[in-house]
Amino acid sequence: MDLPQGTLDLLILKAIALERQHGWAISERIEQISNNALKVNQGSLYPALHRLERRGWIKADWDVSDNNRRAKYYQLTKKGQKQLEEQTGAWRSLSAAINLLLDHS
């Protein structure tokens, strides 16, 4: 299933909310948690990461990964934390409203 417009940012923020991750792990995590229902297109993942970094919502550091290679790890900033909360709230109320609409018959 492709991602609805504008939700990738939210998913990225959520994926690194607990601990810092590198790009591959973020896409893996999104797929795993959604039981492979959501597939992240790499062509949009990396531009999105760079965009979020530029906005200051996430920050990146280079570090050594599990398999002993240099990887770029992303983690949430304070600003990103706030964004995650706001966007989560917004998404919840949106999906609740849509569910209401769809369940109504």
Partner: protein, 875 residues
């Protein structure tokens, strides 16, 4: 916000590191994905293939990431620049013309800005110049007033908004003698606190002690100007302590001022003496230190934290009580302002504004011209643009490319203009700003400054944007067409026709104005009713060496007699007030007229043969003679304007006129002869014999010669010197040089607008040539067909010339109207009657027309030379 900025900056500055990191990151992802598939049981090759397919194009992802980082703007700009540089190198002819044109036009802008900066904007070159204020009396007239010593002292002692107030008389002509050398030089009479207030340090010795400026006429101490010390004393340190004579009074040199003192006027100061010695430096008042003798300017240093406005309010409150009741023309108010620029009147700011308008107009013409050439050029690059569009460039990107190229040209031109303007300013400075109307050297600081740089940069950028506007829009419109759309050349020629007509109009207006100004600059020398050529001048100032009037009269008579005997001298005369052709003012009335009818007239005391010397026609009666002395009956000569006001009923000769209270019989009537511009009304003039003014001491001698007046100057001085070597001889210059100094604005304007006119005319010709040549080259095929069908070559030439000339003449017609308006704008700079102005308009239109004819003949002849077969074989 800041992370954003940091990101963009890092992306820019550390471009390679950022690119490498991006590559590493994407590679890491791929490798991880491959490992995952291998772990799931795929062969490494399959795993790699699968991962790559999933990932999509690495290049596209990289590009999308770059976009996300927000650096693409700069990237494309750099790309545009590289591309532009390559394109400009490929058409060097066009690039050279464009850069040269912009350089010539921006040089005009930079030159005007430099003039404005020096004359109107620049702070004094002093330490902490922003806290310096100049304080002057106002007189209800634009000219600012000097004050007397007691008035200065009262301001100085009462003002609290300034931490110090210094007095200066910086244009004191001092007759200085050191050993056997004697000469009149410009000096300054300054208060003891003058140097410390301006933050100056002596290079040698010391400045004045406060005590040396306390008792009148006691402390005869002098400070030398740096250049004076170097030329008169060969920079010898032992000058300090030695003696020099100022206006016949011995002084002791106590110090030498620095090489760059704070210049309050354009006249460099050679010798400074204290204000308590003012009676030596200023001899025109009975008591130079009395309250009725206004000689001093004031400069103050604002006290900490005080503003100019506060100082202005305080000075107005503490000004001398009698100023409040003074009539217009006397000191009756006080102005406090920051000294800015060297201009002393409002004529120069007006001139600079006019020249600024001309420079901007020139820049616009230049843009119109380049816009035309560039759109012709970009039309021939149509194929290139079409290819770039088909490779994926958007129309806006193409437009941006055109604009970037133009800006590149404009900035290169601007840099050239900046360099060129230094040459122009150097020339202007040498020609017009290096000597005053009395032959004294002037020093104006025309050094480069920030405003000049900014104005030039702004002009270059504006030019770049302006002249690329049309071609950029054309490029957008064109590239949205199918690449191989048919070419329409007639439409393009129609578009550039408008631009060319505008250029021709401006060229005609500028040429006509420049010609009017140049003719005025010449007329002012050999004007109506006077002729300045062949007149040499000399100023004799026995007052500086304490001559009595009787002795002075004897001296002046002997001078006149001796000079008359010099071979090649045609006539000799002298004036007592002001300059030759100039003078002062006097009250004139008729016996029995009520007080209200009294007139203020222009006035001078003149020697015999004055009107013969300056070639002013004597209409009735006679000139003064050697016999019109104090013992003879008082007489006067009036000019036509005054005569008609005194005696409207006709009989004018023999009438009695009261000048400054003395009744005089009118013995002669002369034509109106004064240097007045078109905006000034004819003035009434009254002349009395020099010999009949009991108080006349100093004089200006005028000598008409049959030869070169400049060559005669040394001989005149040699003749006069033996009569009394102590009498200072100054201002030995020719009358044309003096008038040129007095009419600097018209000559500056004539030269500057002449430059603009020449450039505008050249541009019009180049533009016309370019547009026609382009049209012809595009129509080679059509011309070939017409020739093949039997069209005459002569008619072909005629039709193309007609096309070009038609545009120019239409523009020229508008230009004549513009010229009429322009001549009104510069009327205050024009001399002579407006009756023959139409000749200049016609000549300007003809000149631009001829240039247009030349410019269209060349492409027309090329068209006529087209071989039908060759033309048809094209394409």
């Amino acid at each position: 916000m800041f992370t954003d900025l940091y990101f963009r900056l890092r992306a820019l500055v550390r471009r390679q590191a950022v690119e490498r990191e991006l590559g590493d990151e994407l590679r890491f992802h791929l490798d991880h994905q491959i490992e995952k598939y291998v772990a799931a049981g795929m062969t490494p090759a399959d795993a790699a293939r699968r991962a790559r397919i999933e990932f999509g194009g690495v290049d596209q992802v990289t590009e999308a990431c770059r976009d996300a980082r927000g650096v693409s703007l700069v990237d494309t700009l750099l790309q545009d620049l590289r591309y532009g540089g390559r394109m400009l190198r490929r058409s060097p002819m066009f690039s050279c013309i464009a850069i040269a044109t912009i350089a010539l036009a921006t040089a005009a802008i930079a030159t005007v800005t430099s003039l404005a900066d020096t004359l109107m904007w620049r702070h004094l070159r002093a330490a902490d110049a922003a806290t310096l204020v100049s304080v002057s009396a106002t007189r209800g007239r634009p000219t600012e007033g000097v004050v007397s010593y007691p008035d200065y002292a009262s301001f100085r002692d009462r003002a609290t908004t300034v931490s110090g107030l210094a007095a200066h008389y910086s244009t004191a002509p001092l007759f200085v003698a050191v050993g056997a050398t004697a000469k009149e030089v410009n000096g300054a009479v300054v208060s003891a606190n003058y140097f410390p207030l301006l933050g100056l340090q002596p290079v040698l010795g010391r400045f004045f002690h406060a005590d040396e400026d306390r008792v009148p006429d006691r402390d005869r101490v002098a400070v030398l100007g740096y250049d004076f010390w170097r030329t008169w004393f060969a920079a010898d340190p032992s000058a300090v302590g030695s003696a020099l004579t100022v206006n016949g009074v011995p002084f002791t040199i106590v110090g030498v001022a620095p090489a760059n003192p704070v210049a309050l006027t354009p006249l460099p100061v050679n010798v400074y003496i204290p204000t308590m010695m003012l009676r030596v430096g200023y001899r025109w008042c009975k008591d130079s230190l009395a309250s009725d003798c206004n000689t001093l300017g004031m400069v103050g240093r604002l006290a900490g934290g005080r503003s100019v406005a506060e100082a202005a309010a305080e000075f107005a409150a503490i000004m001398p009580e009698r100023w409040r009741h003074a009539p217009v023309g006397e000191n009756r108010g006080v102005a406090v302002r920051q000294p800015r620029g060297m201009s002393e009147d409002d004529e120069e700011p007006r001139l600079v504004a006019t020249l600024g308008a001309v420079a901007i107009l020139l820049l616009v013409v230049c843009c119109a011209n380049l816009g035309g050439l560039l759109s012709a050029q970009s039309a021939s690059r149509q194929d290139e643009f079409a290819i770039r569009v088909s490779l994926g460039a958007g129309p806006l990107r193409i437009a941006r490319q055109v604009i970037t190229e133009s800006l590149l040209l404009a900035l290169a031109g601007g840099a050239g203009g900046l360099v060129l303007s230094r040459v122009f300013i150097g020339a202007l400075s040498r020609m017009f700003f290096s000597m005053d109307d009395e032959g004294h050297p002037l020093v104006y600081d025309f050094s480069p400054s920030m405003p000049i740089l900014l104005a030039t940069l702004a002009a270059a950028l504006a030019a770049g944007l302006l002249f690329s506007a049309v071609p950029a829009m054309t490029a957008v419109r064109r590239s949205s067409l199918r690449p191989l759309a048919t070419r329409s050349t007639s439409a393009r020629w129609a578009a550039s026709r408008g631009l060319l007509a505008v250029q021709a109009a401006v060229a005609v207006a500028l040429v006509a104005t420049a010609a009017l100004l140049a003719s005025s600059a010449r007329l002012v020398l050999t004007g109506r009713n006077y002729d300045a050529s062949h007149v040499a001048l000399m100023r004799l100032r026995p007052r500086l060496v304490q001559y009595t009037p009787e002795r002075a009269q004897r001296f002046q008579r002997e001078v006149v007699e001796r000079l008359r005997a010099v071979p090649s001298v045609e006539s000799v005369s002298l004036v007592g007030v002001g300059s030759i052709l100039g003078g002062g003012t006097a009250k004139a009335t008729r016996p029995g007229w009520p007080k209200e009818q009294e007139m203020t007239v222009r006035y001078n005391e003149i020697g015999p043969a004055y009107f013969a010397t300056v070639r002013t026609p004597l209409l009735e009666g006679r000139e003064f003679t050697d016999g019109d002395t104090l013992q003879a009956a008082p007489v006067a000569v009036v000019n036509e304007t005054l005569a008609s006001r005194l005696e409207p009923d006709g009989r004018r000769l023999g009438a009695v006129i009261v000048i400054n209270g003395t009744p005089r019989q009118v013995v002669g009537i002369v034509a109106d002869a004064a240097i007045i511009s078109r905006t000034q009304a004819a003035q009434p003039w009254a002349y009395i014999p020099f010999w009949q003014n009991a108080g006349a001491i100093d004089s200006r001698i005028a000598v008409r010669t049959s030869g070169d007046p400049a060559a005669l100057l040394p001989e005149l001085a040699r003749e006069v010197h033996p009569i009394d070597p102590a009498v200072p001889i100054a201002d030995t210059i020719t009358l044309p040089v003096q008038i040129a100094g007095l009419t600097r604005p018209v000559r500056v304007a004539a030269l500057f607008i002449g430059y603009a006119a020449a450039l505008a005319m050249l541009l019009t010709a180049i533009g016309l040539y370019g547009a026609l040549a382009f049209a012809v080259s595009r129509r080679t095929k059509e011309i070939g067909i017409r020739l093949a069908l039997g069209a005459g070559r002569g008619r072909l030439v005629a039709s193309i010339v007609r096309e070009g000339l038609g545009v120019v003449l239409a523009g020229a017609a508008v230009g004549v109207v513009l010229a009429i308006f322009a001549s009104r704008l510069v009327a205050s700079l024009l001399y002579g009657s407006a009756g023959s102005d139409w000749l200049f308009y016609a000549a300007a239109a003809a000149a631009v027309g001829v240039a247009g004819l030349g410019a269209s003949l060349m492409p027309a002849r090329r068209a006529a030379g087209v071989e039908p077969i060759v033309a048809l074989r094209q394409e």
